[in-house]
Amino acid sequence: MATDPASPRGPPLAIEGLVVQYGERRAVSGLTVTVRPGEIYGLLGSNGAGKSSTIKSVVGLVRPHAGRVRVFGLDVTEAGLRTKEEIGYVPETSMLYDSLTPREFLEFVAGVRRLDASTATARARTYALAFRLESEFEEPIVALSNGTRQKVLLIAALLHAPRLLVLDEPLNGLDPRSVRIVKDLLRRYVTESGRGVLFSTHTMEVAQELCHRVGILDGGVLQGEGTVPELRGRIESGDASLEEIFLRLTREDEGLSDAVALLGER
């Protein structure tokens, strides 16, 4: 797809000095991250590391306490509606309109995103066939399995062919076939001019396999960023896996063997 000349310019995502705070608790502290064109950027972190808060700031669900978030050069707090048009988002939990069927839900999303009927239908049909969702297209979402709900969310995020995909644990609940499809889809997705993907996950294997660069968050602070070989260099271990890099950078390897031994004694 050619880039619309009226589209805003700049990298798909530029986060500068982001601070997110809930009451007195600081979830993200001065985070700076850029997702470059053609890049799948993996955001890694333990539970409560600040991944979801970062993502919520990007999609306009949380107002940053400080710092700036720009999508293709547009500030999300100043041009929220415009940036939302550029983003396709899959949330961490599949909170949808349970009363609607997938068709009704996608119709609503397509209406809000001002898609024409033929484009929306063609894209929905393609993705529904790919995810084998066609037999559940008229079932209310409340009756669908978690994995199927996740597929509906993925289709909704892709329906308007956004230039930035923001995916918070998008593979949760998906069957192996669908995981494979999503991975292939994302790889091909970013080959189109100017597109980018921000991808949050706990699964190190997926991140290592899929992401061009990763950022490792711990306690709301970026502990390391780069390609896997670059991160190996940081911990001075030439053959370390991403899991080992993660544990070292977040210092979660400290006391790990003791914890495992403790479990073994029980």
Partner: protein, 549 residues
């Protein structure tokens, strides 16, 4: 484990339910960016406030009825121009009171049911090593606590108020009646809840499926409409009761009325207060009364046992879905944003009884009153007045219930906020829905009354003149709710947890909707139209202006 443990577990489950009722996290709301410590107490407080409002309303009804009957002869004389016999008046008024008690409690159950189902509090309890009897007790306690303060209010205030107004015998005699109303309301809530999950929630989409869902919803809600219709036509019932009570000799109609719930309990109270002299209580009627009372008391006992046995199943009633997946073309028909919001709300309402009720009530009320207009109006000019009165009721009902549609925004709120959807589109979509309810109700009245109304043009002009005021009222209500939601950072409330907001915001809305009606009464149609259009011109910028999120 025993009752003490069940009470503790039921309390924990109710705390979670209150929390979900207010913040709706399981339905897709976002955790507010404030201190999380205050969320749980605030949730409990908000639910308690709503219960207190329903309870205050029920207490007012009981005290009002008792005050009315305390000086019944004088009040009925000033209202109707003659004195209605005391026992007949007692029976009529108390029949209305018991019906309203049951209706309000059932209504409360309808509102909280989707939250109870989506909160999954009962399935979570069932995964823990809790023995069967304790689990059943905890589930029953949880269910009872949905209604606790309103129930206690009905059970205590009604007998005490009537005891003070009509004497201790009457106060005691009403007790079986209020117990029956409470138990029937709880049982009806559960029955309708199960029906909802089985037949409506999982019903498939598409044109045919939508028609089936709406038909089921109308069927399901008919009893509650009948109750409200009874309230609307209460005076007619009172006159009918007076006529049959005065009849001499056998009367099948009288026996039937005396045996119909909740008349036996109301009549027994009337008899306890004023004796049998006014109510034509011959042997057949007395037998009908006794049999009716015994039957309903038996049904109360059976319902209570059934409730206790079945309540545990509510947490995991299987959702009824079509056995064979329907063939589909996957054709999408996207609409402009405001229409997309309207369509989404209609689709959600078609699978959510609480919202369907709000939408159908003004329309079915118009059907009932429109039919009465056709049947009853003695002459065309009276029909015209009745038709205009019915349209007025439709405008006020649509305005009163309108804000409740805002609560749909609770669903998937966090996801919805990530879409490029302007607040203006949401307000326009919901305001259009409110106007649509008014227009459909008015069209039904016009169609039904067309045979009797001698000047349909005037009627049509009245409907059109009020329309801008209905839209302006919707703008006031929704504009205020949106501002509040943005300021608070989360959706205002659902009906169970934030009823007081819906009541409060309806007041300015009702004033805006009623102003042109007052103008019509004073100066006729031209002033009415000017006031309505003026209101719309002044209030539109409030709802549709302002910065976008």
């Amino acid at each position: 484990m025993g009752w003490r443990e069940a009470w503790r577990l039921g309390g924990v489950a109710f705390g979670e339910l209150s929390f979900q009722a207010v913040y709706a996290f399981r339905q897709g709301n976002l955790v507010p960016v404030t201190s999380s410590k205050s969320l749980v107490p605030k949730g409990r407080s908000r639910v308690n406030q709503s219960k207190a409002i329903v309870s205050a309303l029920l207490a007012l009804l009981a005290i009002g009825a008792a005050a009315f009957l305390h000086d019944g002869a004088r009040v009925s004389s000033s209202l109707f121009g003659y004195v209605i016999p005391a026992t007949v008046l007692d029976t009529g008024v108390l029949t209305g009171l018991l019906t309203l008690d049951a209706a309000f409690l059932w209504w409360t159950g309808l509102q909280v049911l989707p939250t109870l189902l989506s909160s999954a509090v009962l399935p979570v309890l069932e995964t823990l090593p809790i023995d069967g009897p304790t689990y059943r007790r905890a589930a029953a306690i949880l269910y009872f606590r949905l209604f606790d303060l309103p129930i206690v209010t009905v059970l205590l205030v009604t007998p005490v108020a009537l005891g003070l107004a009509l004497g201790p015998a009457a106060g005691l005699a009403i007790v079986p009646g209020v117990v029956a109303s409470v138990v029937f309301a709880l049982a009806l809530s559960l029955v309708t809840g199960r029906f909802f999950v089985h037949r409506i929630q999982g019903a498939r989409g598409g044109g045919g499926g939508t028609a089936v869902r709406w038909t089921l919803l109308v069927l399901w809600l008919l009893p509650s409409f009948a109750i409200l219709g009874f309230v609307t036509t209460g005076f007619r019932f009172l006159f009918l009761l007076q006529d049959v009570a005065m009849e001499r000799g056998a009367s099948l109609l009288r026996d039937l009325i005396y045996a119909t719930y909740p008349v036996p309990f109301a009549l027994l109270t009337g008899v306890a207060a004023h004796g049998t002299r006014d109510v034509g209580l011959d042997t057949a009627a007395a037998l009908a009364l006794a049999l009716g009372a015994a039957l309903y008391l038996g049904l109360v006992a059976w319902s209570a046992v059934w409730l206790f046995r079945e309540i545990r199943e509510l947490g995991h009633v299987p959702i009824g879905t079509t056995a064979v997946a329907p063939a589909t073309t996957h054709r999408l028909h996207p609409q402009a944003a405001a229409w997309a919001v309207l369509t989404k709300d209609l689709r959600i309402a078609s699978r959510t009884p609480g919202y369907a009720f709000l939408l159908l009530l003004p329309i079915l009320d118009a059907v009932a009153l429109g039919l009465l207009t056709v049947v009853d109006a003695p002459r065309a000019s009276a029909a015209q007045g009745l038709a205009i009165g019915t349209v007025t009721a439709a405008a006020l009902l649509a305005t009163f219930f309108g804000p409740a549609f805002f609560a749909i925004e609770v669903l998937a709120y966090s996801y919805g906020r990530t879409l490029p959807l302007r607040d203006r589109s949401v307000v326009l979509g919901k305001a259009t829905l409110i106007c649509l309810i008014y227009v459909v109700a008015s069209a039904i009245v016009l169609a039904l009354a067309s045979l009797r109304v001698n000047d349909p043009d005037l009627f049509l002009a009245f409907v059109l003149a009020e329309l801008p005021a209905v839209l302006a009222a919707a703008f006031v209500e929704l504009g205020w709710l949106f501002r509040r939601a943005r300021a608070k950072g989360f959706p205002v409330a659902n009906l169970y947890s934030g009823g007081w907001i819906a009541f409060l915001i309806a007041i300015p809305g009702l004033i805006v909707a009623a102003a042109p009606l007052v103008a019509y009464a004073l100066e006729g149609l031209p002033l009415m139209a000017i006031v309505a259009v003026g209101e719309l011109a002044v209030l539109s910028p409030y709802a549709l202006g302002g910065s976008e999120r």
